[in-house]
Amino acid sequence: MRKPIVIFFLILPLLGLSIFAQHQVETRFRFSLPLIVEVKPSSFIHFWGSLLGFRRLSSDLAWIRLLQYYGTLEREEEHVHHLGHCERGEYSELLPRCQEVVRLDPYFHYAYLFGGGCLAFNHERYEEAIQLLQEGIRNDPKFWKFRLYIAAIVYTRTKEYDKVLPLLEEATRYRDCPEVVKVFLASIYKAKREYDKAIAIWENILATSRNESLRSMAESRLKEMGVLR
């Protein structure tokens, strides 16, 4: 029985070292994610994904579901509103779905920008958009684009388009700018009769967008402006 006793006395200090190492990791690890009780996952898959260490993947699945939700027409007639922009539904679940995506992965920056952009520029739901982007600032205060988008939304709400323009122009310079923002900027240019700039944006969307419906929208806008036949 000597050997087992030796092994037992080897394991005890290792256990102490393991506890010490874990404590060291805990104090240094600055990557906390919201607890599952805070995320309140809406589906079984998201719940299990979070449990099994697939938070980002669950966030991606929630994101795809969000896109499918937002890409589905809720009504047949278009509702034309602000700056000639039109949308085809209320999409009342847009904010909660965006929140689920970003609570599963608080660093999914594009989801904040996309959600904020859609809520503000497509549906004039400025408070919801700002709420979403402020959640982004709380989770990742270093990502300055949240503040840029909030500023653009605030000025849009007060219809101060001269102040909105430079902010959105800056946003569109970056690769992670959602196309909804480009579309909104093009709408502002068109409203201000700066057709060349609007055409440039639509041409860019037609050439680079991977979204079929956006490309057809760009094509129809360009035809309206007489650029395409």
Binding site: V25, F54, R55, L57, F114
Partner: protein, 257 residues
């Protein structure tokens, strides 16, 4: 110690010649390829979806192949008594366990490397910009496998069947990802006047903590990961795994065949 190397060699051969090894690897590569279809649903974040599905597939299949090797093959060898002809030779019990464990880790590492290369190929085709954290995420997946393989061997030596062994190992895998919720549980219980903090702390430190090794969920996190943190994470994984392996040696040294 020299006896460990032939045991590693035969563990590698055993896994490579087993159909399940190829099946799992093939499945992983198929799922990665299918991520191209999923990514089309999210045109703006295509590479992100491919990356996340790819890393998820790598982790799942590395985990499955590790527990199959540890629980299925080690236990199988004990059940069919082929282990008798190994232990009837001048091989120390600890050499057998460490040799098997090292062999399982070697095959897991091969699996992970093959799958990572497949994923990198897909990502580069889609114009992804390389991030060093990707390599860290892969490395940390391997560290998780290091821990779970050691636990799987221990459990396979204690349990009576492959199914119970695999089930318990899977349970530990799940629990290891939610140990950070124990703190929240403690907070809630304290609010209700239930004081079991020491008990919960003991469980917290005894159970494997995979959340700190789950770097694939933190790839987008802008906070830097310092060298010291990485070193302590590696140290924790290696120490925890060696505890489980030495416990396996303890159990195995008293086993009769």
């Amino acid at each position: 110690m020299k006896k460990i190397i032939p045991i590693i060699e035969y563990t590698l051969k055993e896994n490579i010649r087993h159909k399940i090894f190829y099946t799992l690897l093939l499945f992983a590569l198929v799922i990665m390829a299918s991520s191209l279809i999923f990514s089309m649903l999210s045109p703006e974040e295509e590479t992100r979806v491919i990356l996340d599905i790819g890393l998820g597939a790598i982790e799942i299949f590395a985990f499955l192949s590790a527990i199959f090797a540890a629980a299925g093959l080690v236990l199988g060898e004990i059940e069919n008594k082929s282990i008798s002809l190994i232990l009837a030779r001048p091989v120390r019990r600890y050499e057998y366990i460490w040799g098997r464990y090292s062999g399982i880790l070697s095959i897991s590492l091969c699996n992970i490397l093959i799958m990572s290369l497949g994923l990198l190929f897909l990502l580069f085709v889609k114009g992804w910009e390389f991030q060093f954290r990707f390599l860290l995420a892969i490395g940390f997946i391997f560290l998780k496998v290091v821990i779970i393989s050691a636990l799987a061997i221990l459990i396979s030596l204690i349990s009576t069947s492959a199914i119970s062994s695999i089930s318990i190992t899977f349970f530990l895998w799940v629990v290891g990802h939610v140990t950070d919720h124990l703190k929240y549980l403690n907070y809630v219980l304290l609010q209700k006047g239930v004081k079991i903090t020491i008990f919960l702390k003991a469980i917290y430190y005894l159970l494997p903590n995979f959340q700190y090794l789950n770097l694939k969920d933190y790839i987008g996190n802008p906070n830097p990961l310092t060298g010291a943190t990485i070193l302590w994470q590696v140290a924790y994984s290696l120490v925890y795994a060696s505890i489980a392996t030495w416990l396996s040696v303890l159990v195995f040294s008293r086993k009769e065949f």
